[in-house]
């Protein structure tokens, strides 16, 4: 923590720290600590080499030269959220990575839209597995050129799995979820 003699400089620094806190709120404790310490270290070094007399001027110059928080911290947070989603596999982390990365760049947005469709399929499989208990007609229907997970009202189309649809749909959804989340990280972080 930088010790300021000037109260105004301290207030500006605290305010800046709060903005950083806000941006890194969803990152792991370790990442938060690392990022905040590196920013503090940078500001400190920058102030040490500034010829201005007043602390507040030195601090404002240092912040100004570092650039906008969104510009330099945004890409870092976006990458780290993808890494967190991929390593933890928690749905909350995946959703946060989605929200933060959509609109970040054309490449990221198109990639996340594509993977969003796959995740919707994963959710559909999961829902179908549960819904079987409430709507027994739900199942895997095969025949007459049809391959449908859900319900279908056609003769000569047979429901093939019965209540096995539930464990199979859960397993398939789980495998697809893990695979998709790992691939998403590789593709999103690839240059």
């Amino acid at each position: 923590m930088i010790a300021f003699e000037d109260k105004s400089a301290q207030r500006v620094f605290d305010q800046y720290q709060r903005q950083v806190d806000h941006m890194v709120v969803h990152l792991s404790v370790e990442d938060k600590k690392e990022i905040k310490l590196e920013i503090t270290s940078h500001l400190h070094e920058s102030m040490q080499r500034d010829a201005e007399d007043r602390e507040i001027d030195k601090l404002l110059n240092a912040i100004d030269k570092l650039g906008s928080l969104e510009e330099y911290l945004g890409p870092l947070v976006a990458d780290k959220l993808i890494e967190q989603a991929s390593s933890s596999l928690r749905p909350g982390a995946v959703i946060r990575a989605f929200v933060y990365n959509l609109g970040r760049s054309a490449k990221r947005t198109s990639l996340f839209i594509f993977f969003g469709v796959i995740y919707l399929f994963v959710i559909s499989l999961f829902v179908a597995g549960i819904a079987k208990f409430f709507v027994p007609e739900i199942g895997l229907y095969v025949g007459e050129g049809n391959f449908v997970i859900g319900t279908i009202d056609k003769p000569d189309v047979e429901e093939v799995l019965g209540f096995w649809i539930t464990p199979i749909a859960f397993a398939l959804a789980g495998i697809l979820y893990v695979f998709t989340t790992r691939i998403l990280k590789i593709l999103a972080l690839k240059k």
């Binding site: 010790a3 940078h42 650039g67 330099y72």
Partner: protein, 117 residues
């Protein structure tokens, strides 16, 4: 294309070239010695007259670290504010050999083009 548009185009092109070569420049610096973030940025600015927003270097350092081309360590300082030093890894040195070869060949090819009448 009038003069104003030409200048705009050149400014944009310069910015793209700087952005595209920044990782290479960072790696070149780190091949010579270890650096902490602020020191690295200052040297890049001084040596190459690169006018970079200081913050833009950190996502690149993070990316290079993820690729295991560079590594970092915190060093405690007397001031009480530690410095995070970055250094090139063996993998980074191997990558730099390829990158330098590519850069030299590219420069020579462009130089040839420039000298052609």
């Amino acid at each position: 294309m009038d003069k104003k548009n030409t200048n705009e185009f050149v400014t944009k092109w310069e910015s793209q070239v700087k952005k595209g070569t920044l990782e290479f420049v960072i790696m070149l610096c780190l091949k010579k010695q270890r650096y902490y973030g602020y020191e690295l940025i200052s040297d890049i600015k001084q040596l190459l007259s690169f006018d970079v927003a200081e913050g833009t270097v950190y996502p690149l350092l993070n990316r290079l670290k993820k690729e295991e081309l560079i590594d970092s360590e915190w060093v405690e300082m007397e001031t009480g504010i530690p410095r995070k030093y970055y250094k090139i890894t063996d993998k980074g040195i191997a990558a730099m050999d390829d990158m330098q070869n590519y850069w030299v060949n590219l420069s020579l090819s462009i130089q040839k083009l420039l000298l052609q009448k």
